[in-house]
Amino acid sequence: MSAPTLLPTESEEEVSDGLTVVPQRHWGRLVSALVILAVGVVFARSVVTNERFGWDVVGTYLRDVSIAHGLVITLELTLACMAIGVALGALLAIMRLSVNPVVRSAAYLYVSFFRGTPVLVQLLFWFNLAALYPVISFGLPGVELDANRLITPMTAAILGLGLNQAAYQSEIVRAGILAVDPGQQEASDALGLTRLQTMRRIVLPQAMRVIIPPTGNETIGMLKSTALVSVLAVPDLLYSAQVIYARNFQTIPLLIVASVWYLVVTSVLTVGQFYLERHYARGNRNLPPTPLQQVRRIFSTHSRLSVGGQR
């Protein structure tokens, strides 16, 4: 009759009071796991066996050259635009916390304007700058630049997405900076560090922990946003798939092809984000668990009652 015990109390050394411990059974947990698993299997089967998904076509195009080319462009764009976004966003965030009211309001106007207008419009604006200003002179005599030469589709795409991203990113960075203990700023001041040194060496590195997760969101969002550049006929991943199905009308299989690649890249990014978070968590007592540890945790059924255990 003796049930399996969880508490080591019940080991032979200490059965002083002769009581048997009956551990809590997680029936609900087991049942829900089975239900979810069953639903998953049924769903997967129905997806795999449904010929309307056109798995043979998916297989053919998964390694198509133009899809691969589109993937490269998507990655390039994401990299370039996030680089602009992160750098300019940090600058804007610092500007918004400046003591100089001019600098502060300039940053504020920038953010309001770029968050307020659709990216599509911004993209079209940059691309067709020449329609509005055929010759760019910066108001300087002698300078006459042909807007169409200056701005290729790719440049327009990077400018449009990057400048727009900077506006969103600045809000994220600003929140991150405000989350750093003001005592850090004071300590730096007292040591004689300048504002910029403090920001770069003390505040920003600590803000990173708060900045990274939403930035991860934004990067993954950007990966998909690059599809907007199809209006500029820049053949990114999704647009490359669209070009193919515009010819052969295999819409659904080609969308699946694009999705598969997006999923792959997103997964890689997520792993990268994890290690970045871990890097910036250095100096903390509890580092976030590695993926392996996480997998172990997912399969661990022993729950810690203490709240401390979940953090």
């Binding site: 198509d64 050259v65 133009s66 599509l120 079209l124 691309f127 067709n128 700058l129 020449a130 329609a131 509005l132 055929p134 807007a147 169409n148 199809s230 209006v231 500029l232 006929a233 053949p235 490359s240 669209q242 070009v243 193919i244 199905y245 515009a246 010819r247 052969n248 009308f249 819409t251 659904i252």
Partner: protein, 283 residues
């Protein structure tokens, strides 16, 4: 001048043979000096509209009726033709920005648009109706009242979407029937998908691409029986008061006269009724 008709070895989906024509000096003289010195014309097309303009099997070369037509035009004018793929939304601002010399994307001519761009017409094309396989609802353009109360899709910016369907719908309400529910999709692909998933009952579009796509899509939809509906004029779009208009019109007339246009139409399976008349061309 004799026109060398391209050989008959047309591949059934993508004719690659090119009709070659001679330079017509009279037309070429009409070109503005800037184009003459540049030696090329830049045409913008939204390459998602087979068989007019779309990407070939390599996914990088644009092919289609419009492409070959403009190639021939350029040859008549003694310049090179450069083709740029551009989203529909950027073609017109691009013309104003002088990024492109002309827009060639099966543009339909309407009075309202004439105020914004100049047109060089080259085709008159009827409207076709695509329905679900077997036409379960018995829709036909011979009796447009069969469309009343139905969900009909069209492409954003197509003549069917902005003129034909609203007119037919108005006729339905006048006749005391339910109006047509018009669904406008950004491109033909979404419209096709919506028809095959039963989201809409029919697609109304230019008859030529419709026939072509129906064939290509592997029979998930088909053309409704009956004649084409009122043909509309298709044209090349130029910025207002473009200096290019006379040259292109003249060159187009050359192609019409020497039969190149007819050859191209045949090559791309466009019914002969599609040829624009000389009188239209003059307009």
């Amino acid at each position: 001048a004799a026109c060398t008709n391209a050989s008959g070895e047309t591949a059934n989906d993508a004719p690659t043979s090119k009709p070659s024509v001679d330079v017509n000096m009279a037309a070429a003289d009409l070109l503005p000096a800037s184009v003459k010195s540049a030696g090329k014309l830049v045409f913008a097309s939204d390459a998602s509209y087979a068989p007019f303009e779309y990407f070939g099997n390599d996914n990088t070369t644009m092919i289609g009726f419009d492409i070959q037509l403009t190639d021939a035009l350029a040859e008549v004018l003694g310049v090179k033709a450069e083709h740029v793929n551009a989203g529909f939304d950027t073609i017109l601002p691009g013309l104003q920005a002088k990024k492109y010399d002309a827009g060639v994307s099966a543009f339909g001519v309407t009075d309202e648009r004439r105020g914004v761009v100049d047109f060089v017409p080259y085709l008159s094309m009827g409207t076709g109706l695509a329905v679900k396989k077997g036409n379960p609802d018995g829709l036909t353009l011979d009796d447009t009242t069969t469309l009343c109360g139905r969900r009909v899709s069209a492409q954003k910016g197509s003549i069917q979407g902005i003129e034909v369907l609203p007119k037919l719908s108005a006729a339905c309400t006048k006749a005391g029937k339910a109006p047509i529910a018009i669904h406008m999709f950004p491109s033909q692909n979404e419209a096709n998908l919506a028809l095959s998933s039963g989201r809409v009952d029919a697609i109304m579009a230019d008859s030529v691409p419709m026939a072509y796509q129906g064939k290509e899509a592997g029979g998930s939809f088909e053309l409704a029986p009956g004649k084409d509906y009122e043909p509309a004029t298709i044209a090349i779009a130029l910025p207002n008061d473009s200096a290019l208009a006379p040259a292109l019109s003249a060159a187009m007339k050359v192609l019409l006269d020497n039969g190149t246009l007819a050859t191209l139409l045949e090559q791309w399976d466009v019914p002969p009724s599609g040829i624009v008349s000389s009188t239209d061309l003059i307009r």
